[in-house]
């Protein structure tokens, strides 16, 4: 598999992510099979024993995420992965982990829903990922890869951010990114040093007070204090906002899309420009924290925004909040595991441009 060419390899998204996790020195992986991400668990069960790390196929996603809570609390660098229904099952514990302020990496290789749905790719879990997902006021750091390269790179970024902010980080991918093969240069082994975790439950020496990991603060004043601290942390996390801008310099119109949809839109930009439509693309990479300033800044430049998603319209709400009525925000989506084509996007774009031109006459 190893290519002589700069160490580049051809790999499946799920496998690139799992191999990157090995190189990120993950201590333990807990998971449960579900399509389209079972290769991650399979890769761990094959490779982890050679590296003397822990891999455990749990009896359910519920058990897996609670093992994560225990292992993260005990000071391990830990991760789990699943797909939409499995991530739903984990939500109670994710809320506990966010409240107890434990770092861990969660991976959602999404599929179409609701319900058992389909195994085809979808972005229907955007709300669940960026608005918290479980009960209470909390957020995850959410990274949205749009290539196999980013499936690997964001493992490192996710762990680094989770440990920096003591919070769960999620990679929100989709079934297509998990299954497709692309060239990838894997991050270097040992380039993510372990951090000190003096708060971990590792056994109480006589020299310190006991460490308690809990999300129970029965006194409401204390619970409000915890909430205030969490919200301050989320505010600080705004420093980590990441996005990509493509062909926006001379753009009259902006597409907004993340993950796989952004790949589709990149092609749509080329096609539209061939037709003389000056359109660009902004791709949020951190879905939380959301690049609202970057989008807001574009309102001075573009006439409208077209948000493209593989869902019924979820990120479009955050885009609308950022645009704050200054420009129209339109939406083009496919649902239930269907992926919009670049031609679909261009067609929608052309009709919007056409109506705009008519109204300008």
């Amino acid at each position: 598999m190893e290519d002589k060419n700069n160490g580049a390899r051809l790999m499946k998204g799920n496998e690139a992510l799992a191999e990157a996790a090995m190189r990120a020195d993950i201590d333990a992986y807990f998971g449960y099979p579900i399509t389209p991400q079972s290769e991650i668990l399979e890769y761990f069960t094959l490779e982890m024993p050679k590296r003397h790390g822990v891999v455990l196929q749990a009896e359910s996603e519920l058990a897996a995420i609670n093992m994560i809570y225990g292992a993260a609390g005990a000071g391990g660098r830990v991760m789990t992965s699943s797909s939409s229904p499995g991530i739903s099952l984990m939500q109670e514990a994710i809320s506990y982990i966010a409240s107890a302020e434990l770092p861990c990496l969660l991976v959602n290789v999404t599929r179409g829903g609701p319900g058992l749905g389909t195994i085809q790719p979808s972005q229907g879990d955007y709300f669940q990922a960026v608005k918290g997902g479980g009960h209470g006021d909390y957020h995850l750091i959410v990274l949205a890869p749009s290539s196999v390269q980013e499936m690997a790179d964001f493992v490192f970024d996710g762990i680094r951010l989770a440990e920096k902010y003591k919070t769960p980080a999620m990679i929100l991918a989709d079934g297509a990114l998990g299954q497709m093969m692309e060239k990838v240069v894997l991050p270097e082994e040992g380039s993510l040093p372990k951090t000190e975790k003096p708060w971990a439950t590792a056994g109480k020496p006589a020299t310190r007070e006991r460490n308690i990991i809990t999300s129970l603060f029965i006194d409401p004043e204390k619970m409000e204090g915890i909430n205030i601290r969490l919200q301050e942390k989320y505010e600080q996390m705004r420093d980590e906002v990441r996005f990509e801008e493509i062909a926006l310099d001379d753009a009259e119109f902006a597409l907004v899309a993340f993950g796989l949809s952004a790949r589709v839109c990149q092609k749509a930009v080329d096609l539209a420009r061939e037709k003389g439509i000056r359109v660009g693309l902004i791709r949020p990479i951190t879905l939380y924290p959301f690049p609202k300033e970057a989008i807001s800044n574009l309102t001075n430049k573009v006439k409208f925004f077209l948000v493209v998603e593989m869902n019924a319209g979820q990120m479009v709400e955050d885009v609308s909040l950022a645009v704050n009525g200054k420009r129209p925000v339109y939406f083009k989506g496919r649902m239930g595991g269907m992926v919009p084509t670049p031609e679909d996007v261009v067609e929608k774009l052309e009709s919007l441009v056409h109506s705009l031109r008519k109204s300008e006459i």
Partner: protein
């Protein structure tokens, strides 16, 4: 334990282990939880393993177990204590790890975790307080509630036709090869407390070589939930609980 046997001219015959904090127990008068807490902490103190022991508290009356136990602890979601303990033990295989759960936690909402933790033979001690009721939420029916027992959600008594039978989960666990030591004890009198202490000692002793899961059920009372005085509750326990949940070892390591 510390060696100071004299205090203000008196001989010290009984004292608080260093593994218990100064926080007064919040448990109802006569409740078995506080006795089990103390026994556990005495053993950890006497074995000198305070710095190597990590505990997991459940959701239930003992949700605040970490307020009293002077060791590193984590508080788990309802039913998931043994999964959390699994995560901790896998990170620290050389440490002593225990989970502590009530019957609703371990034998209803957490049944899958209980069975699979033992089936994997996780090298932890699981402590299971069976008081035949949901104490914390106000005395609802538990999976272990006896037939005809009145609770706030079986106001006409537990009827097996619609509510099933008392779940003897400990007997089920004995079948699993991962279970190394399984015993059922109680804390309703001094003799019983001593026997429980022996079982806890053995379990931590076994855990030194990580041979599989040690599981201790403690048949306990709930004076508030049962609407009895502590003395009445202990009598009721002997007369009604023991016939269904008989005291004694269910599985002992071969040759021990």
């Amino acid at each position: 334990m510390q060696e100071d046997t004299q205090l203000n001219g008196f001989e010290v015959v009984y004292k608080k282990p260093v593994t218990l904090t100064d926080t007064p127990f919040h448990y109802c008068p006569g409740c078995g939880h506080s006795v089990v807490h103390r026994v556990l902490m005495e053993v950890i103190d006497e074995m000198g393993i305070q710095d190597k022991t990590i505990g997991v508290a459940p959701v239930g009356c003992s949700v605040f177990a970490y307020s009293y136990m002077n060791i590193d602890m984590q508080e788990a979601a309802h039913g998931r204590a043994s999964a959390v303990a699994t995560g901790i033990k896998r990170i620290h295989p050389d440490k002593f790890v225990f989970s502590y759960q009530g019957d609703g936690d371990l034998a209803a909402i957490g049944t899958a975790e209980t069975i699979h933790t033992v089936n994997r033979g996780e090298n932890i001690l699981m402590i299971f307080i069976n008081n035949a009721i949901y104490g914390m939420t106000g005395g609802q029916m538990a999976p272990t509630t006896l037939l005809n027992q009145v609770t706030s959600t079986s106001p006409y008594g537990r009827n097996c036709e619609t509510m099933g039978y008392p779940l003897k989960i400990t007997d089920m666990l004995v079948q699993l090869p991962g279970a190394y030591y399984v015993t059922r004890q109680s804390v309703h009198n001094v003799n019983a407390v001593r026997k429980l202490k022996k079982a806890v000692e053995k379990s931590f002793e076994y855990q030194k070589s990580n041979p599989g899961t040690c599981f201790i059920e403690v048949v306990s009372n709930c004076p508030s939930g049962w609407k009895m005085t502590p003395v009445e509750s202990n009598k009721w326990l002997e007369e009604n609980m023991f016939p269904v949940y008989p005291i004694g070892d269910l599985k002992v390591p071969s040759g021990k």
